[in-house]
């Protein structure tokens, strides 16, 4: 995926991306915080530094599966064995030129956090992304870990950016979808796709506000 693909030209997001690069190049970690549909996963997919390899970690794994999966991603043969956990942790801490990405950090097993702290302290950068409750949890249970992270709060993209991006939509149409979805980008994109399909069926070149309002009126509980 190219760096600028699917990336709406939002100043704050660009500045966050630069901030993430600076942090991970220095071996420091980051927490990307945002509500549902704020665009955390998409933001993570944009992090592609030239000199560091990104290792995505599934947040639902338990401790030994997580450590083994990091090594596997780095092309090491690592069986998922509970007994090998200490050895794996040492290996992960000793390796360099990579960084770890953990999406949905709110799902992480609480027992994993002390291991992640060792990894952070070894200078392996970790980029976490999750709901605001991750920060709340860390503040109460692991303030030492939270103090090692730079927190970047991801707000939903502003409507003006969407208007610039969706050129086949009338600006008022984009506004109405944005207002109906209350800034949830996932829902926003679903409705955009559906409205485009509706416009194609009706042989419209342009998605106008009346088409969008008629479509939204048919969707209860958006």
């Amino acid at each position: 995926m190219k760096r600028k693909e699917c990336f709406i030209n939002d100043k704050r997001r660009r500045s966050y991306l630069a901030s993430v690069y600076t942090r991970i190049t220095r071996g420091k970690s980051v927490l990307v915080e945002g509500g549902y549909g704020a665009g955390k996963t998409r933001f993570l997919s944009l992090i592609q530094p030239k000199k560091l390899r990104g290792v995505w970690v599934e947040s639902l794994f338990n401790v030994h599966e997580t450590l083994a999966s990091i090594l596997k991603e780095l092309n090491y043969e690592a069986g998922t064995s509970y007994q090998r956990t200490p050895g794996y942790l040492k290996m992960i801490c000793a390796l360099d030129d990579y960084f770890i990405i953990i999406d949905e950090a709110n799902d992480l097993d609480p027992r994993l956090w002390p291991y992640l702290k060792r990894i952070i302290d070894a200078g392996v950068p970790i980029v976490f992304a999750g709901l605001p409750k991750v920060r709340t949890y860390l503040a109460s249970e692991h303030p030492d870990i939270l103090s090692r992270l730079k927190t970047l709060v991801l707000y939903p993209i502003e409507v003006e950016d969407f208007i610039l991006e969706y050129k086949d939509f009338e600006p008022e149409a984009v506004e109405q979808i944005y207002a109906a979805t209350k800034g949830d980008m996932r829902k926003f994109e679903e409705i955009v796709t559906d409205c485009r399909e509706r416009a194609r069926e009706l042989k419209y070149v342009f998605v106008d506000v009346n088409l969008v309002l008629s479509f939204l009126a048919e969707q209860p509980g958006i």
Partner: protein, 98 residues
């Protein structure tokens, strides 16, 4: 102790949120109370609502010219546009111009 009662025929003054709702209803908007309360919690006042409306009135007139929908949907669409303008207006002093 006796409870104080309002004399018959007197009406309690509407609170600010109700005044905003009345103001927007006069302008033919269909108010979504939940959304309005969120903005109110973020600092929307009656005077701010009036300012935002006056500032963007030509835009709402353009909206009305474009919309070919039943009054209920048109009113809700106008309210949505107004809420976005309020967000934009309230964002400025905090984050500066984008």
């Amino acid at each position: 102790m006796k409870k104080r009662r309002n004399p018959p025929g007197t009406k309690l003054k509407a609170n600010e949120l109700e005044q905003i709702i009345d103001f927007l209803s006069e302008k033919e908007m269909v108010v979504d109370r939940g959304t309005l309360m969120e903005r109110y919690g973020e600092g929307l006042t009656l005077s701010l609502a009036r300012t935002v409306y006056e500032h963007n009135q030509p835009r709402y007139e353009r909206y009305l010219l474009k919309l070919r929908q039943p009054p209920e949907i048109t009113g809700a669409a106008l309210f949505n546009a107004f809420m976005l303008d309020c967000i934009k207006h309230m964002r400025k002093p905090i984050y500066g111009a984008k």
